[in-house]
Subunit: 330 residues, 2 copies
Amino acid sequence: MHKPSLIAAGVLLSANAWAAAPANEPIQPIQPAKIENPAKVELGKQLFFDPRLSKSGSISCNSCHNLSMGGSDNLPTSIGHNWQKGPINSPTVLNAGYNVKQFWDGRAADLKAQAGGPIANPVEMASSHQLAVDVLSSIPQYRESFKQIYKTDQITIDAVTDAIAEFEKTLVTPNSRFDRWLQGDEQALTQTEQAGYQLFKSAGCVACHNGPAVGGGMFMKMGLVQPYQTSNPAKGVAGVTGKDSDLNVFKVPTLRNVELTYPYFHDGAYWKLEEAVDVMARVQLGRQLQEQEIGQIAAFLRTLTGEQPSFKLPTLPPSSAQTAKPQPFN
Amino acid sequence: MHKPSLIAAGVLLSANAWAAAPANEPIQPIQPAKIENPAKVELGKQLFFDPRLSKSGSISCNSCHNLSMGGSDNLPTSIGHNWQKGPINSPTVLNAGYNVKQFWDGRAADLKAQAGGPIANPVEMASSHQLAVDVLSSIPQYRESFKQIYKTDQITIDAVTDAIAEFEKTLVTPNSRFDRWLQGDEQALTQTEQAGYQLFKSAGCVACHNGPAVGGGMFMKMGLVQPYQTSNPAKGVAGVTGKDSDLNVFKVPTLRNVELTYPYFHDGAYWKLEEAVDVMARVQLGRQLQEQEIGQIAAFLRTLTGEQPSFKLPTLPPSSAQTAKPQPFN
Ligand code: HEC
Ligand code: HEC
Ligand code: HEC
Ligand code: HEC
Ligand SMILES: [Ca+2]
Ligand SMILES: [Ca+2]
Ligand SMILES: [Ca+2]
Ligand SMILES: [Mg+2]
């Protein structure tokens, strides 16, 4: 019995030579979501799609983090309540659970802490926590869902953001071509894409963009070697800490699905992935890449597009006679 | 062999006594969608959800006809490009294929003729047919889909609106409790709801709200017996024909899913279904209903909520370097 099983193990190891590789690679595969509380995820999904969390009744999380479009809005800066122009580019919510902190400047510790922000932000959804909770409490089916999940008759903003965060944690994008390659499928990447990955490592990109999300793990100065020119006034982490040394320090964004999250950088100034790669090499590494190298890295980056969220469009429960009316025009 | 089968037929007939009834009823069940060309429906679905059909890159058909919320936006009048206030209430797209014509004033002959309107309407999506076609043509996956379905390399607005219309035709809501009752399930409606339906017929509502969609089949004056007070300047069909006799003549809206399509009437002035019923009885029939009667009719109307659209959130193909950039702020 021993011999055959040892042989079988040997065969497995050699067939899956690459399967062992992730341990040695700076990037690891995205894991599929483990859904522990499906009812909570479903409630969070409804809330994510519900424009009644906004003052106007028309803006939902999905307006700026469109799950049909890679989890962002593909605008330089977002459109908020009353068509206000947002201050900064909307990051994708896909794989955001991997972020060490939330927001470009890390001012929210986690997804739950983050979710309260936009609801009450006057240039985003322009509601208030009280109003949002009142609206949800006026809707019988929401009252029932919250009661079932949180065992209380009282809907709280804490429960609202908890449910949204639980849904967001499911927004992972496994099985990209790159992950299949990491897991041993050598055919999953072309030679060009593999060359791009080697360059991504050897050039030093991987120093900042690493881990399963290929980013999201640290904060770094934008313009480390050469200043980054932008008209966007965002100060980065310095806006939170007040420290000069934190000026222009932003969260290193995930490069998962980066093919879908144009335009790039916190100011949304670059639409082409090749341009973003070129800028990065210059301002973060002081290096002028050749056109062919840029093409290879961009080709590699496009292999990071994983399986997009796949679920049924949620049906939202209707308002009741008690529901506060939306206020789109005042 | 004959006897048993005759008996079986007899049993079937008596068990389904109500199944024969629809022939005698002014309202018929909604039929489930027959999808003949799934690829076309899928393309139409993508287009329906694609905000790149708008100048700002942020407004899709689904913004104003939210399929999570009964196919409308639950606002008195919609929010269009640059937060412009729309002139009239957004009707549901659910079961719109049953409408004799499209729009409140019937100015579009069918769904296909309608779909070109909002794309180029400056207070809605504010794009143009040329720009929308150019944007789609710049997206490789769209080019491929159109080529597969329409056998041409040239995307046209005709094909765009054809695909959207084909998708919209699938937006039917069968199997409401009322339809189950029509089809023989006597338990599907309570006594109150059945009384409401009898009243809906005997009071005369059914003269205008009939057919499978419980409306959508004709145009009638709003304020037939008593003038309807509104500050909304819409002239109805008179705006199209210029005829005085068409003043305040609007399409009789479907009452399918009317529980979800608040606020009511072309001006979106009434939020409560009971109020809308009361107004209708007074201005269309010159009749003051008792509170109990209003409750019964409203209870019946709530049984018209059918199965809501059930499909996976579409994933949209990414833009390319050639795609015209959205213009949200100019
Ligand atoms: C009007 C546009 C808009 C709306 C609505 C909106 N967001 Fe955001 N979101 C943004 C922008 C812009 C940022 C970046 C802000 C910053 O970093 O200062 C952001 C950041 C985030 C982040 C952090 C991602 C990261 O990588 O740091 C998450 C998570 C998120 N939003 C989730 C949500 C949720 C949940 C909702 C609804 C409750 C929501 N957003 C509503 C525009 C929006
Ligand atoms: C020293 C840290 C660091 C290094 C090295 C680095 N990056 Fe970045 N990268 C960042 C930070 C920080 C941002 C966000 C900057 C901003 O938006 O202002 C970023 C943003 C990006 C973006 C835009 C992502 C988006 O969604 O907006 C791309 C693409 C990118 N990097 C690729 C690369 C490539 C390719 C390399 C190597 C050639 C590289 N980066 C090297 C820190 C780094
Ligand atoms: C900014 C809001 C808005 C957008 C965007 C919008 N619509 Fe509409 N839609 C309306 C309004 C308001 C009406 C009623 C206009 C009228 O009757 O004069 C309407 C009417 C309709 C109707 C007629 C329904 C009936 O019962 O007569 C259909 C069908 C429709 N829209 C489909 C679409 C499609 C398809 C798109 C995208 C290509 C779209 N709409 C985009 C607001 C919008
Ligand atoms: C003579 C024709 C006619 C009769 C009779 C009639 N309706 Fe209507 N109904 C209409 C028209 C036309 C509208 C749209 C008016 C508008 O929006 O300005 C409408 C609108 C409605 C609406 C609002 C639907 C929506 O989505 O906005 C409801 C509810 C309604 N009717 C119920 C009833 C009931 C209940 C009765 C009987 C008590 C009734 N109607 C009798 C023609 C009629
Ligand atoms: Ca972006
Ligand atoms: Ca309607
Ligand atoms: Ca309405
Ligand atoms: Mg929207």
